[in-house]
């Protein structure tokens, strides 16, 4: 599952302060972005499963 890879296993790739995004340290911005992306992905999965 994509969110698991993105927010868990790859921690050493994104755990850094620079570049700052919208004034947030990079690691913080990355995790917050995935809080929004994860429901998006699940919604897509929900749609697909519904159609079946």
């Amino acid at each position: 599952m994509v969110p698991f890879v993105a927010t868990c296993f790859t921690v050493s790739l994104w755990d850094r302060v620079d570049p700052m995004i919208f004034g947030l340290p990079f690691n913080m911005a990355w995790l917050v972005a995935w809080l929004v992306l994860t429901p998006g992905l699940m919604a897509i999965a929900y749609r697909i499963e519904r159609r079946r």
Partner: protein, 481 residues
């Protein structure tokens, strides 16, 4: 009025309002255990959402997370990662679990194990283990309540008396409200929580540093390296992060969480909830902002858990401290109520009833559950008064225990036949390993989260025992598999 009196009066007012809502909502319910414990399985999308989400907004979220970022820095980001991942897991296994609950009239985690593996010893152990992790979690809430009253009274009320008073109030609240009442109070709590998250997460940086960006810029300048791992610690590395996030994402194993799945009207509601739920984690990011501000506003505090409230006290007027304190008190009381309700249902239904040899009347069972409420709360209060663990420390311990239920929960949904003995041995081994590492202060163990080590031991033993003793009693096949 003195600042302390203003703050305390507002806290009491908010708590009283919450209790009144719970009491009124509970008047609609019937006096049996099913209604008290799972609200007659009749809650819709919004109430279940709020109840499930309510479990993510606890004292841990308000004081614990800000306290950890204050004292430990970067590793705290685990809190932003694991919740969303846990909901991904619930998205997949939640609906089949709900189906089984509906089909067999299940109310608790132990009921589920009883149906899946038909082993009385395993059922009792799950119930007892469930009570243990819940008591840890409750200890966290009680400690949090003590901190809130202590800081809001400007240290005039000691933490001990504050914890006792808070426990008494919460106990009465649970006994009168039941789950339906609690779900409604949850609404008030969550509105307040989001309000204060915005207030302290955006408001405080704006007042003191000209915005969130300015605050982070200053923090990075003053404390370089603090916001990445291992931050203010030496041993919370990336390995720790990965293993902790994995262990914590198994929070479906928390008995109260598991139980809340059963309160939904349908499996589809559970799934749609899981889709939306990660959004509910966003306010936690604001709390992290607030925690970061408090590093700059009130440096050099000995206890991180006090950081947020102390920062608020020095920045905002007393009445706002009161509102934050009141909201904080509700974020401790509501989850505490759900947890104690679950623990007492487990004790009454899955431990005492079988010991008493068979069926009890619904009314007696409900009475027994209410007596257990008092007992469980008493135990948590005792521990809270005699322990110095940090809020996050307590929660990590509880999660390490909870993860040990996961193999049993998930394997029951698959067509694999696993013997109850294997599940049992694995669970006991996992619990012991995680418990030993935690108590012996060896967590993290070579960088690995203790619960993760426990889970590894758990699975090894499980498969070893299972291949030795071929499964005789089958487990049921999942509803959609």
């Amino acid at each position: 009025m003195s600042p302390a009196a203003t703050a305390l009066a507002l806290i009491v007012g908010i708590v009283a309002l919450g209790s009144a809502i719970g009491f009124l909502a509970a008047r609609r319910s019937k006096p049996n255990l099913e209604d008290w414990a799972v609200a007659g399985r009749g809650l819709g999308l919004i109430l279940v959402w709020i109840l499930l989400a309510g479990e993510t907004f606890t004292t841990y979220s308000v004081l614990g997370i800000s306290g950890w970022i204050y004292s430990k820095g970067g590793p705290t980001f685990y809190a932003l990662a694991y919740l969303a991942l846990g909901y991904v897991i619930i998205f997949f296994i939640g609906p089949p679990i709900w189906e089984l609950g509906k089909k067999h009239g299940l109310q608790t985690l132990a009921d589920y194990f009883a149906k899946a593996y038909r082993s009385p010893i395993l059922t009792t152990l799950v119930a007892v283990g469930g009570v243990v992790v819940l008591v840890l979690y409750l200890q966290l809430q009680v400690t949090g309540l003590g901190i809130i009253v202590n800081v809001a009274s400007y240290e005039r009320i000691g933490r001990g008396p504050a914890m006792v008073a808070a426990t008494v109030v919460t106990t009465l609240f649970v006994i009168t409200s039941g789950l339906r009442g609690i779900a409604w109070v949850s609404i008030l709590k969550d509105i307040l929580f989001v309000g204060i998250a915005v207030l302290v997460g955006i408001g405080i940086p704006l007042m003191r540093f000209g915005g969130v960006g300015g605050m982070f810029a200053q923090l990075v300048r003053e404390r370089p390296g603090f916001l990445t791992m291992p931050g203010g610690t030496t041993n919370l590395t990336h390995t720790w992060f990965v293993t902790t996030v994995l262990v914590n994402s198994l929070f479906i194993g928390f008995p109260h969480f598991f139980g809340s799945v059963f309160t939904a009207k349908s499996g589809d509601i559970v799934r749609r909830n899981a889709v939306l739920m990660p959004l509910y984690v966003l306010p936690l990011a604001l709390i992290v902002f607030a925690g970061c501000s408090s590093i700059l506003i009130v440096p050099h505090l000995a206890v991180g858990d006090l950081a947020l409230l102390t920062a608020i006290r020095t920045t905002l007027p007393p009445w706002l401290l009161g509102v934050v304190g009141g909201a904080g008190a509700l974020t401790a009381m509501v989850p505490a109520a759900v947890q104690v309700l679950t623990a007492s249902t487990l004790l009454a239904k899955n431990v005492c009833e079988p010991l008493a040899g068979g069926r009890m009347s619904e009314a007696r069972l409900a009475l027994l559950a209410k007596i257990s409420v008092v007992a469980v709360f008493g135990g948590s209060l005792f521990l809270a008064l005699h322990s110095s663990a940090t809020l996050v420390g307590l929660l990590l311990m509880a999660y390490s225990g909870v993860a040990q239920f996961a193999p049993g929960i998930i394997l029951a949904l698959t067509p694999f036949k696993v013997s109850p003995r294997a599940i049992l041995c694995g669970m006991v081994a996992g619990f012991s390993a995680a418990g030993y590492l935690t108590i012996a202060a060896m967590d993290p163990f070579h960088g690995f989260n203790a619960g993760f080590v426990g889970l590894g031991v758990n699975l090894l033993v499980l498969f070893a025992v299972n291949s030795l003793s071929r499964a005789k009693e089958g487990c049921f096949v999942s509803a959609n598999g």
